[in-house]
Amino acid sequence: MNLFYSVREAFSGFTKARISMVITIFTVSFFLFILSIVAILSLNMNRLVTMLNANHDVQLFLANTLTSVEIDQLRSDILAMDDVVQVDYISKEKAAEEFKKEFGDDIFAVLEENPLPASFIIKMNEKSDMKTNLSDFAGELERRPEVDEVVLHQGALQILVKFAHVSRVVLYLLFTLVFLGSLFMISNTIRLIIFARQQIIATMKLVGATDAFIRRPFLIEGLLQGFIGGVITMLMIYVLVKLFLLQWPGLLLVPRELYWIVLFAGVSFGFSASLFAIRRFL
């Protein structure tokens, strides 16, 4: 095995077919950039959903006729349900106080009796998946006779979360499509480069070069192209994220690992696309 030869051939391939190299590196960067954007969006969508899930709660209004025993029983039933972490009881009196705080008027000044029902504020844990089972959760509670009404506080946010769910699926699909597409494109570009060097490959075979020996410089070349493509994408993402955060501070979270993943993806892209492309010629 002559690794030095392979590395030298790989670098000389770089200088001999400059335009093809630039095209391949550009293709790698372009697809990596799209994949990174998709990943960043997906990541931040998850973050938003997690944030919303952490904050959301459900208010449950109780029927007026309940005794304190029934209220306690209902409270422990709810606490036993999945994803429920806390159940706070808001009595009719407390509800009246909060009404006063909110509206500035004492409800008893207007009405003779307190019309506000007692309620529970139910806090869900972070894992509770608002997008799918919160309405089921509310429906289940609403069917109970002790319950008058269930209000999901973040109706508007829920729509957002639902949207997040849909867009996450779209993003994953897009990610897969772009990934496969880019592998195909890069492989084809590299195939063109190899095609131009068919004569070299044929001659090498005639003088007794093994397939592995012939393959090695092309793989190293693919690896280098992927590496350079990865570095360019890293820089592009870094600048773009910086500019975005200057405009909208704190709205985007890009973990440092993403940059390494981009680089690794570039190298893997280049290597596997070369491997895929050269198989045709050996």
Binding site: N2, T203, V207, G208, A209
Partner: protein, 215 residues
Amino acid sequence: MLELHNVKFIYPTGDGIQHITFRINPGELVFLVGPSGAGKSTVLKSIFLQERPTEGHVIVGEYNSLFVSRQEIPYLRRKLGIVFQDFKLLNDRDVFRNISFVLEVIGTRSKVIKRRVLRALADVGLSHKSRKYPEELSGGEQQRVAIARAIVNEPYILLADEPTGNLDPDTAGEIMDVLMRINMRGTSLLMATHNFALAKAYNGRIIRIEHGQLV
């Protein structure tokens, strides 16, 4: 050393070779003579297994075509030196690298490579052109580089497929001189040519082939 036993290979077009049997002894000079399309190149290709015989077998040193796996073919080819009519030089590298890569293929150390390449270049009289690119050389010089590439690995046998076919008579004579010198030093030479007069001018064995069969 080199033996062909009842070798047959037929292309999808129906052309090909059959019943080819001969042996080449160490240091022997053999001309494979026949008109164009007689099957000379196919015989050579069946020796270095570019075309694998469908019947019969070829023995090159310790390799027998019946038992050689696809992975072993490169190792069989390293026992041979091959010279083509169209030279098959790599235009993207200079003369030195055109020859040295044969040794790099088999993992020879760089010091040894340098010594052996310079020796091969001296054998073909091109020491002064080692940094030239193939396109900067004449046809005769290119063929000499191809011969240097074929002998640098000290092969059992040199296979030459119409090595003078693309050259004018004077240059062809020079190339023949180079090949004869190599043969005189003990390397077997099997040369395919359509030129019967050329073959007769040298003191070698002549094998005639017509319509894919020895005559």
